[in-house]
Amino acid sequence: MRMTNNMLSQNLLRNLESAQGRMDQLQNQISSGHRINRPSDDPVGIQNAMRLKSNISSVEQWKSNADEALSYMNTTDSTLGEITSMLQRVKELAVQGANGTVTTEDKGTIAAEVDQISDHLKMLANTQIGSKYIFSGTATDKKLEISSNGTVSQGNDQYVEFEVGNNLRIPISVKGQDLFGAATTPTGGIFTTLSELSEALKSGDLAGINKGLANVDKNIDNVITVRSGLGARTNRMTALQEQLDYTSTNLQQNLSGIQDADIAVTITEFTNSQNVYKAALSVGAKIIQPSLVDFMR
C-alpha cells in the first residue's frame, strides 16, 4: 500500500484519541467508584440498579418505622406494667380491707388510696408518646375519656398500625377499651371495679369488698392478657426488624455488585491504557518527524 505523510499523522491522531477515550472512561469509573455512570454503560444493569435502589429506600424506611414501632411498643409495655402493679396494690389493699379487724377509719384510708390509684390509672390511660395518646386507638389526638361506669366517650377501638413491609401494617398499640372499657370482664371495667371497691370499703360492706377483690383479680388477668398479646407482637416486630436489616444488607450488596466498579481491575486497565497511550505518543513523535527532505542537501 502506498503510504503518505498525512496517513501517518491522521492514523496517529486517531489512535491517540481512542487511547485517551479509554483512559477517560476508566478514570470516570475510578473516580466515581461506579461501573455504571449512564444508562448506556449497561442498560440491563441500570434497570436492576434502579429497582434495587427503590427497594432499598423502601426497606430503609420500613426499618426506621420498625425502630419507632418498637420504642412505641416498649413504652406501652412499661405503662401496662405500671397498671398491673397499681392493680396489685389495689388487691393488697382489698385483702387488707377484707380483714375483719380493720377499723372503719382505716377502711376509709384504704378507700382513699384506692381512689387515688383510680385517678392515677386514669392518668395512665392518657399516656402520650410525643403527641399521641397511646390508648385512644387511631384517634391519637384525643384523650381517652372514660366515665366511672366504664363507658368510653372519646377515642376509638382501632389499632394504630405501622408499615413495616410492602403493604404490611402491624398493629403496635393496645386498645384502650380492651384495658379500661366497659366490655371487659368483669362487666364495667377497671374503674367500675375500683369505684365499687371504694364504696364497699367506705361502707364497710365485707361482701362488697370480697366481690371487689375477685374483680380486681379478673382485671389483673385482663391486663396481663393484653400485655402478653402486645409482647407477642413486639417479638414479631423485633423479628421483622432483624429481617429488614438482613434484607437491606443483601440489597446493598446486590446493588454494589451491579453498579460498583471493581477498583483493582479498573486501575489495572487504566495503567494498561496509560502505557498504550505513552507508547503511541513516543512512537508518534518518531514517525511523523523524518521524511526524505531531512536527508537532502
Binding site: 500500500m1 502506498r2 503510504m3 503518505t4 505523510n5 498525512n6 496517513m7 491522521q10 492514523n11 486517531r14 461506579h34 455504571i36 455512570n37 449512564r38 444508562p39 448506556s40 454503560d41 449497561d42 442498560p43 440491563v44 441500570i46 434497570q47 440498579a49 434502579m50 429497582r51 435502589k53 427503590s54 427497594n55 429506600s57 423502601s58 430503609e60 424506611q61 420500613w62 426506621s64 418505622n65 419507632e68 410525643g130 403527641s131 399521641k132 385512644s136 386507638g137 387511631t138 384517634a139 391519637t140 389526638d141 384525643k142 376509638n156 382501632q158 394504630v160 398500625e161 405501622f162 408499615e163 410492602n166 403493604n167 401494617r169 453498579q259 521524511s291 526524505l292 527532505v293 537532502m296
Partner: protein
C-alpha cells in the same frame, strides 16, 4: 535527412517539459496538507517522431518529449464508498450525539434523578403513615411531591427544548444542502467551460469533490458523471448529483440545473423537508445527519415524552384513586380530595376520572389546589381518625406494585411505576449503546476508506522529493545537451575558416 538544429529542438522540449514536471511536483508539495487535494501527475509523452530516409529505408527518429496531460490520481469507486460510509457514519454520529444529550437530561443513575425523586416521594408517604398527626411529615410529603413535579416539568421542558434545537438544525441543514447545490452547479459550469476549451481543470474538480463529500455528511448522495454527447472530439462530462432515497430518482444538481429543498413548517413550527416543486423528499435508510435529526425529533423524543406523560398520568391516577378513598360515608356529596390536580375536573364536574390518563402530562402535572392551600387536606386514613395511616401506607406501596389500585391499566405499566420508568431508562440505554456501536463500526469503515483514498490520492513527500531529483537531473542533462550541441555547431561553423 533531419535538420542540423533538431538536437537543439529536442533539448528545448526536454527543458520545458521537465520544468513543467518540476512545477507540478512543486504544486503537489505546496498542497500536501490541503483538504481534498488530489495529487497531480504530469504525463510526459514522446512527441511524434520525424521520418528520415536513410539508404533507401525510412527510419523514425525520436523528436523529444512533451507534457501531454496533467491528471488527478483519483478513484471514483473509492469516492463512492467514502461518501456512502460517511453518510452512515454521520447518521449514527448525530444519533449518538442527540441520545447522549437525552441521557444527560435524564441524569440516571444519580441522586438528582426522577427515579430518586419518585422513591423519596413514596418513602415520604410511608413516613407519614406512621405519624399522620405530625404536620412535619405532611409538609415533607408535599415538598417531595413538589420536587417530583419539578423534575417532571424540567425533563419535559428539556425534551421539548431538544426538539426545538433539532428543528432549527434541520432548517440550517436544508439551507446547507441548497448552498452546496448552488456551489456544485457553479463549479459544474466552470469545469464544463474549461473542458470545452480542451482543459482538464483538476483543482476545480477537487473543489467539487470536496463539496460532494461535505454534502454526504448531511444526506445520502450519489454522483453520476457521463460523457456529454454534444462533444465528440473532446472529453466533456455532465455531472449529476442525486440525494436521499436511492430507489427513486431525486436529482439535486444536474449540470447547470439546481433543484432546491424547502422547509415546510406546520402549525407547531416543526419543519418537514420538501422539494421546491412540492414533491416530498424521501431520505432513505439510515443515511446522513439530516435523517438522524428528523428521526430523533419526530419519533424518538416524541416517544420518550409520551413515556414521561404516561408515567406522570399513572402516578396521578393511582395516587388520586387512593387519596380519594377517605370520604365521609354519610355525605353523598363528598367525592374525596384529589392529591394531584385532576385536569378533567371542571367546576361542575362530578370528579370522576374520565380520561384522566390522557389528560395528565409530564408538563402539566401539579398538586391539587386543596393540597397547596392546606397540608392538612392530605389524607392519611379514614376521616376523623388522626392516627390512621392506612391510606398513606397504600400510597407508599405504589412504589412496588398495584395491589391497591384498580383505575389504572396495569398491563401497560408493568409491575410498578418504578419498573415502568426503569424500562424506559433501560430502553434509552440500549438505544445509546446501539448508536455507540454503529458509530464505532462506521468509524472503522470510514477510516479504512479514507486511508484507501489517501493512499491513492494523497501527496507523499518522499515521492515528491524523489520526483524533484528525477526531473532536476533530467533538466540538467537536457541543458548539458544544449551545451554539447553548441560545441558541435561551433565545430561545424569553424570548418574552412583559415586562421
Amino acid at each position: 535527412m533531419s535538420s542540423t538544429f533538431s538536437g537543439l529542438e529536442i533539448s528545448r522540449r526536454a527543458l520545458s517539459s521537465q520544468q513543467a514536471a518540476l512545477n507540478i511536483t512543486g504544486h503537489n508539495i505546496a498542497n500536501s496538507n490541503t483538504k481534498g487535494y488530489t495529487r497531480q501527475i504530469g504525463n510526459l509523452t514522446s512527441t511524434t517522431p520525424d521520418t528520415i530516409s536513410n539508404s533507401g529505408r525510412n527510419l523514425s527518429l525520436g523528436s523529444g518529449v512533451t507534457l501531454d496531460t496533467i491528471t488527478r490520481a483519483r478513484d471514483a469507486f473509492v469516492d463512492r464508498q467514502f461518501r456512502g460510509e460517511t453518510s452512515k457514519q454521520q447518521y449514527w454520529a448525530a444519533k449518538q450525539d442527540s441520545l447522549t444529550k437525552v441521557e444527560d437530561i435524564l441524569n440516571e443513575p444519580s441522586d438528582n434523578s426522577l427515579s430518586n425523586d419518585m422513591n423519596q416521594f413514596w418513602v415520604a408517604w410511608s413516613d407519614l403513615s406512621k405519624s399522620p398527626e405530625n404536620s412535619g411529615a405532611r409538609s415533607v410529603v408535599k415538598e417531595r411531591a413538589l420536587t417530583l413535579i419539578d423534575s417532571f416539568h424540567a425533563i419535559s421542558t428539556q425534551i421539548s427544548d431538544r426538539q426545538n434545537d433539532l428543528n432549527s438544525q434541520v432548517n440550517v441543514q436544508i439551507n446547507q444542502i441548497n448552498v452546496y447545490a448552488n456551489q456544485i452547479k457553479d463549479l459544474n459550469d466552470q469545469i464544463k467551460r474549461a473542458e470545452v476549451a480542451g482543459d482538464n481543470p483538476n483543482d476545480l474538480r477537487d473543489s467539487r469533490d470536496n463539496l460532494v463529500d461535505g454534502l454526504s455528511k448531511i444526506v445520502s448522495v450519489r454522483v453520476t458523471e457521463t460523457r456529454d454527447p454534444n462533444f465528440t472530439d473532446r472529453q466533456v462530462n455532465s455531472y449529476k448529483v442525486d440525494i436521499g432515497d436511492e430507489t427513486i430518482p431525486q436529482t439535486l444538481v444536474n449540470d447547470g440545473q439546481v433543484n432546491q429543498l424547502v422547509g415546510d413548517k406546520n402549525q407547531t413550527g416543526i419543519t418537514s423537508v420538501k422539494w421546491a416543486g412540492g414533491a416530498s423528499f424521501k431520505l432513505g435508510q439510515n443515511m446522513g445527519t439530516l435523517q438522524a435529526n428528523i428521526e430523533i425529533r419526530d419519533d424518538y423524543l416524541t416517544g420518550l415524552m409520551g413515556k414521561y406523560d404516561k408515567l406522570a398520568a399513572g402516578i396521578v391516577t393511582a395516587v388520586n384513586e387512593l387519596h380519594k378513598k377517605s370520604l365521609d360515608p354519610s355525605d353523598p356529596l363528598d367525592k374525596g380530595t384529589n392529591f394531584f390536580h385532576d385536569p378533567t375536573d371542571g367546576p361542575t364536574d362530578d370528579l370522576s376520572d374520565d380520561d384522566l390518563e390522557a389528560k395528565v402530562t409530564a408538563s402539566n402535572i401539579q398538586l391539587s389546589a386543596d393540597i397547596i392551600a392546606d397540608i392538612n387536606k392530605i389524607v392519611t386514613g379514614q376521616l376523623g381518625e388522626a392516627g390512621d395511616g392506612s391510606i398513606a401506607t397504600k400510597i407508599s406501596s405504589l412504589s412496588s406494585g398495584w395491589s391497591e389500585v384498580s383505575s389504572i391499566d396495569k398491563t401497560a405499566y408493568g409491575t410498578s411505576l418504578g419498573d415502568f420508568y426503569g424500562a424506559t431508562v433501560a430502553q434509552l440505554g440500549v438505544d445509546v449503546q446501539q448508536a455507540n456501536r454503529m458509530k464505532a463500526g462506521e468509524d472503522v469503515l470510514v477510516t479504512n476508506v479514507t486511508n484507501q483514498r489517501e493512499s491513492f490520492s494523497g501527496v507523499s513527500l518522499d515521492e515528491e522529493m524523489t520526483n524533484l531529483i528525477k526531473f532536476q537531473k533530467s533538466y540538467s542533462a537536457a541543458a548539458r545537451m544544449v551545451t554539447m550541441m553548441d560545441d558541435m555547431l561551433s565545430t561545424l561553423m569553424s570548418m574552412g575558416v583559415t586562421r
